[in-house]
Each structure stands twice: as C-alpha cells, then as structure tokens.
Amino acid sequence: MSYHVNGKTFSEEPDAGQCLRTFLRDLGWFGVKKGCDQGDCGACTVWLDGKPVHSCLIPAYRAQGVAVTTIEGLATNGELHPMQHQFMNAQGFQCGFCTAGMIMTASTLSTDDINTDLARHLKGNLCRCTGYHAIEDAIHGVQTVEVDRPGSSAGTGVGAPAAPLVVTGQARYTLDTKMEGMLYLKVVRSPHAHANVVSIDKTAALAVPGVHRVYTWEDVPRRLYTTSIHEDFRVDPNDTYMLDNVARFVGQRMVAVLAESEAAAEAGCRAVTIEYEVLPAVFDPEEAMRSGSPMVHERGVDDFIRHPEHNVLIDIHGGIGDVEAGFAEADVLHEGTYSTHRGQHAHLETHCSIGWVDEDGRLNLRTSSQSPFIARDKICYLFGLGLQNVRVFCERMGGGFGGKQEVLTEDLVALAALDTGKPVQWEFTREEQFIGSTYRHPMRIEVKLGAKRDGTLTGMKLRIVSNTGAYGNHGGETLYHACSESVALYRCPNKKIDAFAVYTNTVPSGAIRGYGLTQTVYAVECAMDELARALEMDPFDLRQKNVVVPGDAMLSLGAEVSDAEIGSYGLDQCMTLVKDALARGNGVSAPDGDWLVGQGIAYAMHDTAPPTEHRSTAAIQLLENGNYELAIGTSEFGNGTTTQHIQIVATTLGTTASRVQIVQSDTDRTGFDTGAFASTGTFVAGKAVWIAAQALRDRILDFAASHVGVPCDLCRMDNDGVICGEVRVPLVDLYQAAEESGHQLGLSRKAYGSPRSVAFNVHGLRIAVHRVSGEILILQSVHAADAGAVINPMQLNGQVEGAVAQGLGWALYERIVLDDDGKIVNPQFRNYRIPAYADIPRTEIFYADSHDSIGPLGAKGMGECPINPVAPALANALHDATGIRFRDLPFRPDLIYAPIFEKHGAGVAS
C-alpha cells in the first residue's frame, strides 16, 4: 500500500497506532504542527480528499489510498492559494504556529460559511497571539500590509519578512528538522505533591527494547540552580536540582528515560519503579506561612530564601510617608481583598529542544527559548562547561509570552547529548505544558485606600501574598514588579506595601506577560473604582486627579532615586480617547431579554525595561550585493521584533525593509542579548539596532564623501546608493571600494535597559450580563495605548489585540483546578479553555500621539502592558452592570451567577 501526500507517493508504513500528524512529519511535511495532539487546537489540520480534518486524531493507516494535502501542497503550479495570499496581505499571524491549520481550514469555507457563521467554523482553531482580528481580516480578504518606501519604513505596516515562509509551511520551527540517530527523552513525573524518594528501580526500564539510558537524581550534577532566566542569576533563588530525590509538586520530573523512539521512552517510563515516602503538603500560601506548616524547602538550601520555616521565599516591605496618618486625614476609606488565579501562557509550540555534540566536541542546542544566551550560560554553569563549548540558538518559535524565559528542557537534553554523544530531542506534550511548566503567580491582594472628599488620595496600602509554587523561579522579581507601577501610577504622599512570595506544594509559577504587575493592577484599579463609587465620583475624574504627570516621581516602595522616568507622557490622551470612544458607543446594544448593562475602565503603567540588568548587541554590515545584514541576539516568537528591527535599520539607512536581512538568536552568530522578555525587544534590542544603524550610516556617508571627494554634508543615503553632491554612488560600488581600500562598512553597538521610560494603557469595556445565567457579553471594547512613536501600527494592533484576548480569557474563564492532593484536574485545552475566535470582540484601538525621549525612534515596548488594565476594566463593568462587586477572578458564569440572580432574578421563572 502507499500514501499520497501533496501529489507525491510514499511507500513508508506507519506504526500500528501512529496518527497521521506524526506520520506526515516523519515523511518530511513539517508544515503540519502540533499544538495539542488532542484535536482541540487545529494546528495540524490537513485535507483528506479535500475535507479538512485534525490529523492528530486520524489513524495514519486510514490515509492509505486517500489524497492527503498539507499546507505545503496547497499551492498549485507554484501559485499560492488565494487564502495564503490573504494571510500575507492581512498578516493573519504572529508566531505563525497556528497558521497552517488556519489556512487549511479557512480555505475550505464557502463565502456563506465565512459571512454567516465564521465563529462556528473557526472554533476548532486556536491562536494565542493575535486575538483573531488579523485572522478575521485575512479570511475576509482585507489588506492591512502597507507598501514600504525607502527611508520611511518606520510608522508603516510593513509585513513580516517570514510571511511567505509562514503561509506556505516552510518556516522552520524548533523541531522541524530530522537528525540521524536521534534519541528521544521522556520523563517520569511525580504523582505526589510532597514526597521523598526512597528508591528507584531502573532495571525493567533499561530492559525495554530501544531504551538507552535511565537518569535519576544520582546521575545529574548535584548543583542547585534556578530555571528562571535573568542575566543576573542572583535575583532568583538556587533551589532546584535537575533531578531531585524530593518531589515538591505533582508533575515534578523525577526520572528521565532516553530511547530510540518516543514509544520506547514512554514504555521505559512506565517500567520505572519509584518508591516514595509521602510527606505532608501545603497548597495555600497563607497556610504555608503559618508556624508548623510543612516546609517546602528546608533551611540551608539557599540563603536567598528569607524564611524557609514559614515558606517565605522573599518578603518586601516599603513605602513613603506615614500611611496611617494618611488614612486618618481621609474623608473616605475603601478596603477590599482581591484574588487572582493561575493563568497559562498556552503558546501553541510546547517547550522543546534538540541537542547534539558536533564534530568539534561542542554542545549545540536548538531550542525554543526567549533567551538563548542566558540558557547557554545556565547550561555552562550546570555542566561546568566554558562558554566557547556551547552554542544555543533558536529557529522560529511558536509563541512564548514569558513561558520560555525559563530553562525547562535544555538541561536534560544537554545531559543526554553530552552523555551519549547522540542527538537528543525532548518535546513536551500539551499535558506536560500544564502540569510541568509554569503559570501566572496567583496572588491575594489586600488594598486600602484613603481619599479626601474631593478625591485627593491620602493613603495607599497593599498587602500582597504571591504563590510561587514549589520553586522560587521568578518569585522575587515578579513580586517587586507587583509592588511597583500599579502603585507608582498614583501621586499619593503616603504609601505602604507588605508583600510575600510563598512556597507551596503546587506547580511553580513563572514569567508571563505582565510579570506580577497584572495582578496588582487588577487589585488597585478595582479598588480605585470602588473608591470612586464611595466618593460618588466619575472613575475617570478620580484618576485624573491622582495620576502621575511629567515632573512627578514615580514612587511605591520608597523614595530612592531611580533610573525609570517619564520619557514621554500620553496618559492624558489615552484617557480622553477611551472616554470619548465609550461616550460615542459603537451601536451594539445588549440582546433582548434579561441583560444588565454596565461600563468599566482601568489604567495601567508599565516600565519599558526590567530593573535587572538588560543589554543587547546589534551588528550591521553592508553586503556585497548592496543589501544590509543585521545580526541581533534577541529571539522572535511572534512578538514582531524582527520586522521592527528591519524597519529601524531601513529607516535609518534610507532604504526599504526588503533590503535588510537578519541573523538572530544564535550565540555563535550574534552578539550578546539578555533575552526577549520584559518588553525589551523594541526598547533595548531595538535601541541597539537603532544606534548601530545610525553609526553605520555615518560611516557610509563619511566613506562615500571621501571616496567621491565631496564634503560629507553634501552626502545622503538614497535607498541602494549614496548621493554625494552631483554624483550617485551605488552601494555595491561603495562596498567594492571599501573592500579594496581596507575600510569596514560594518559595525556593532550595544544598548542597555537603562534609563527606562514608562508606557501607559487605558482599557474601557461596556458589557451585558445575563441576570439568570451570569453570562457576560462584551458589547464594546476600547483600548488606548501610549506606545511612544509607533514603528509598525499593524503589528502593534496585533500585540494589543492579542494581549486583550489573553486578558479577557484570564478574567472570564481560564481556570486551573487542583484536586485535594494538589493534582491539576484539567490539563487539556478542552478543559482549560482559551479564547476562540467566537469569544473575542473586536477592540477599538487608539494610540496617543507621543514620542519617547529614550526609546529607539521614540518608541516604547508594548509586548506585555496592554493586558494589565483588561481584567479590572471587566470587574468594574461587572460592578456597574450588577451593582455587585466581584473581587475574585475569574468571572465564569457558574462562579458569579448566584448573587446576580439573587439580586436581579425577581420575576424570572426558575
């Protein structure tokens, strides 16, 4: 029997239980992606005889004699399918990992399907990046990509250079490669929330055919480290072993099995016997702080841990003025306790990496990381290797959102590759993504506010308890961030904050868009809304009276001098834009029947770089063909920095983006970059690119001036040439001349994440709430951002829409449930629902007219901050609609209906 894929015939046979998705990838069709492997996300959509199916659910043998079409086979005679063009023209993707599935689905829809029932037809395709609007535009054939003109690239919606590869399935992601002799790694995870390993029996596992190695805690470097990625590793506790003899959460990796196939590795895992001594566990952080609670980490692990006997990783106390005196002079006080829950990144490409030792004996890691450089440094530390002996690089990545600011696969892959000398691959399943990666820190935040009758704030007090889970990765820095901009946004002479990051026997928390701040913005912005109600003031007016303005210090934990300043200020414009848009309305009203309508707003401020060390190196050179090559270490995971960096180069050098090629995220081929996190892709890496491009421009003009013999001030860049007075010299000629005379038309520059500026976001929502079911409909969604100068408005819209969608998913229904033993009961997309197209309203997006004095070309980063005001705006709208304050996220119908029905259900039969 044979298989027919994209017009080609294959005689290979699948394994008995193999699914079509992996069989197609085995045949080299890497355009077929895995997002979930369970039929929920649609990334693996292919056609069988023209009908779209999820190939992860199709027994491979059933494809015999059927025409299989993947994204790679969609073009006919070299001509792209119209839907492929449309996805390019509307840039209907960010990371692009869902795109093949989107296109293979959308291209089967009739005009009627698209115009009348697109929501239902897209419900089997999940995208975590875009918020779906660019996808909707693509399917409707809207053109949003703009023409790129020499020297004016910045400010236009230039398409991503990878677009043609993404829409044809040719873009290569981390695992889209084959290597001879590959071994596969799988791990045994702990079934217990807290347990000592008594013994491990590997014998049966080693006897499984195809199993090469079984690694336990006794086989790994006994070296404490942290999985979290920061340039300064001292900001996180070293509390983790690669493999440990203590389990501290259900899902912790305990034993690794290496085998010739994933099937053999899985069989090996099933054959490992681990005997545990089960220990008492603690899941609630308040309980964990009490005396006598089980200790998650014993004393002496790392002196970084402040109070191990109370499970306190770190506690932070600070403020300004005298908060009690401030409350004493207040006319109105508001107190409330707000809680936020775990949220998953849900990037479609799960954690994964491939490692091998090359002919020079160097370890190579091809990984999905937001920081190849720090991942390299961590691997060097763990294995005692010199930097010169390790290369870490990223191909295109399928999303990150902070989840990949963590070393979760590279260490064991490195161990196995170094041990065996063979290529090793480890790919997380979707379930592992839920039980063995990280989450947004759940926080419980007590807020007390005091104000004069006229609204002037007199006191702000917060007590924050953050659940870092079983390990301290990011627990400290997220807590500092939680204590920062949410409070510093407001001018108030008296502030006090007490904050605790607490260990529990639950899955670790980590870095995720907003990085701890999202939680306290939620609490403070809800509290401000409640204060406004108590004062009978308009919530805009209360904030107007109290927000920082240029010239103010931004203070929270203390009055120490800071490197953060207001490099540009568009908050007032953002407020007006949202206020006016809500007043205008959008013509959408609540459906007929039992709906309550309300409106809510929230503000947020976000530093444009982290307080920790952050730096980037950009190298640019003129190439022989007159184009430019930019080398930059930051990685692209759908955040769009690649396009922006190219636009910055093109604008500065007077050319088009198409003349700039990029080399990125490779420790061998680019200069150092701390990583693509903390919204630094534009603000720090972009700045390195900008100053390098300016320096190269000056050097080219200097050289051209002397080459032609005219004064430099008569020379200017002109796309692929330089105009020198009356003469125009093509760049290719200039390159030759420079080569011959020994001049180097290439250079590098570094940028630092200091000083830092601040970005602002205001979100407004008008919602309808059903008084019986508690269902929430978004009637109008408005977002205004102060992003400084906007380098790529199309991409920035995508960042905002994606962040709003992620914020709405988190606030409305994304919810992880732990059972009494600390086990996650819903580690699947079908049971942890992230927004589908049907769930997300179109957001009206506005930008303040602003130009930052610190950021490159006046720009500020927007990777994270648009998410921050979304949840509180929803909570405030919900209060406005129902007259009831809900303080605990999320607002899923079954969690909020009871008080709403009790208050508003009269007259409704039930």
Partner: protein, 276 residues
Amino acid sequence: MNLNTIEDVRGARAAERAGFLWQEGDSWLAGGTWLYSEPQPHLRRLLDLRDFGWTPLEVDDAGLRIAATCLIAELYAFSPPPEWRAGSIIDECCRAFLASFKIWNTATVGGNICMSLPASPMVSLAASLEAVLTLRALDGSERAIAAIDFVTGNHQNVLQPGELLRAIALPAAALRKRAAFRRSTLTHMGRSTALLVGTADAPDETFTLTISAATPRPVQLVFPRVPDAASLRERLHEAIPDDAWFDDVHGAPAYRKHMSHYFAEQIRAELATPSV
C-alpha cells in the same frame, strides 16, 4: 496523538470472520477522535468498525436508523422530512459538540454515545428522541436497549467487554413531536453545561423532558400532559436531588441545577402553548 502501545490494527469484520478472540487490551475503533485524543496505555489492539461498511442512515416508516459508524458530518447533512418536527434537534445536537466541524468529518455518532460523557451530544439526541439502541455481543447476538438506559454514569455504560453498539433507531413517533431545545455553555460554543430537550405532540399529550450534560447520565421525566410550573419543579427536585448534579470544570453542580430548572420552565412554557 500516537497510541504507542498499539501493536495491531485490523478490520473488525475480517477479524470476526477469522474467529478472533476478544482479549484484554482490545478496543473497537470507530472514528478514533476520542481514542486518539488521550493516552491509552492499556490498549494493544484496535478493531476498526469501518470495516463493516454499514449504511450510515436509513429512513423508513419506523423512523431513522443511524449506524454507529455514521459520521457526525453525515448526520448533520441529513434533511429530515418536514413532518418530523423534532428533526431540528438533530442539528441542534450536532452543533452542541465542543469539537470543530472538522472533527465531524471523522467522529461517529456511535463513538460519541459509547464515550458516554455527560456532555456527549449524541447521547442527548438519542435519549431525548426516545431512541432504541441495538447492541451486538461477540457471538453476534443482538439486544435492544432504550437510549435513556444506556449511559450509567460519567464515562460509563452498559456495554459488556467486546459488546458493540450497532445502531441507533430514532422512532418516527418521537421525531414527529414538537420539540424545544435549550443549552448552556460557559464559553461561546463551548462544552455543554446543561442540555435540555422537551417533546410533546400537543399541550395535552405526553410531555417528555430530558435533562443531560447537567447530570452524570441523562434523566428523563415523562408527564401525561404538559404540567404546570410547580409540578415540573417538584418532579425535577425529586428526580435530581442537589447532590446528583454533575461536577467538573465545565460547570459547578449548583449552576447546572440552576440552569436546568430555568430551561425546564422555558421548555414547559413553550410546549404548553399550542403551536400555530
């Protein structure tokens, strides 16, 4: 996903003819959309029901006979005759899948029923339209069972090892009735939290209310005529006490009760009004 413990897949009809013996680790394979969506380390062999080549849909005076292997897409494409007023419930239940229309190209009606999840929409369809299921044992003998009795709990049913679901017969009498449908989900187009169907020829004819998704197994209340609101409420309370509502991440038990009572009354009121 790959089912890496599977050693053998064979056509069910061919296996039967060869006189195979049902073993530990055997499983029937219909569409495979559930089997391939979760690890199945206990399975060694799959027997593919498509091999039987059953006719997906057969219509006659008795009603609609659906083969277990009928695809959801085939059922959804079926246009019931206009006198089958409850025919709309077929479409409604197809649309009640959490799964995409693409899954409908692979998933089967019988597979969904045999999964026997509270939110299985084909269970809701079969139970509310009074279907009779034909089950076939390994020796080829058949037995009939009312759909309402097939599911015994969350992911549990009456099938014996090796027994398979052959067909689902929707009787014409039920298909001809007036029907009312209500469904609640926690996300737009998400999984059912409560799915209720009421049927009645007329206000003074038999009223059948089937509650599914909100309970571990479907519950059916039958009244000689459309009752008044108080009687319905009382019967609901009796039939489903507070601790009998289903509890999982797709809806808290109290909410399922709340929505079921709300929908039940809406359905009652709708069918209490003579059709025009």
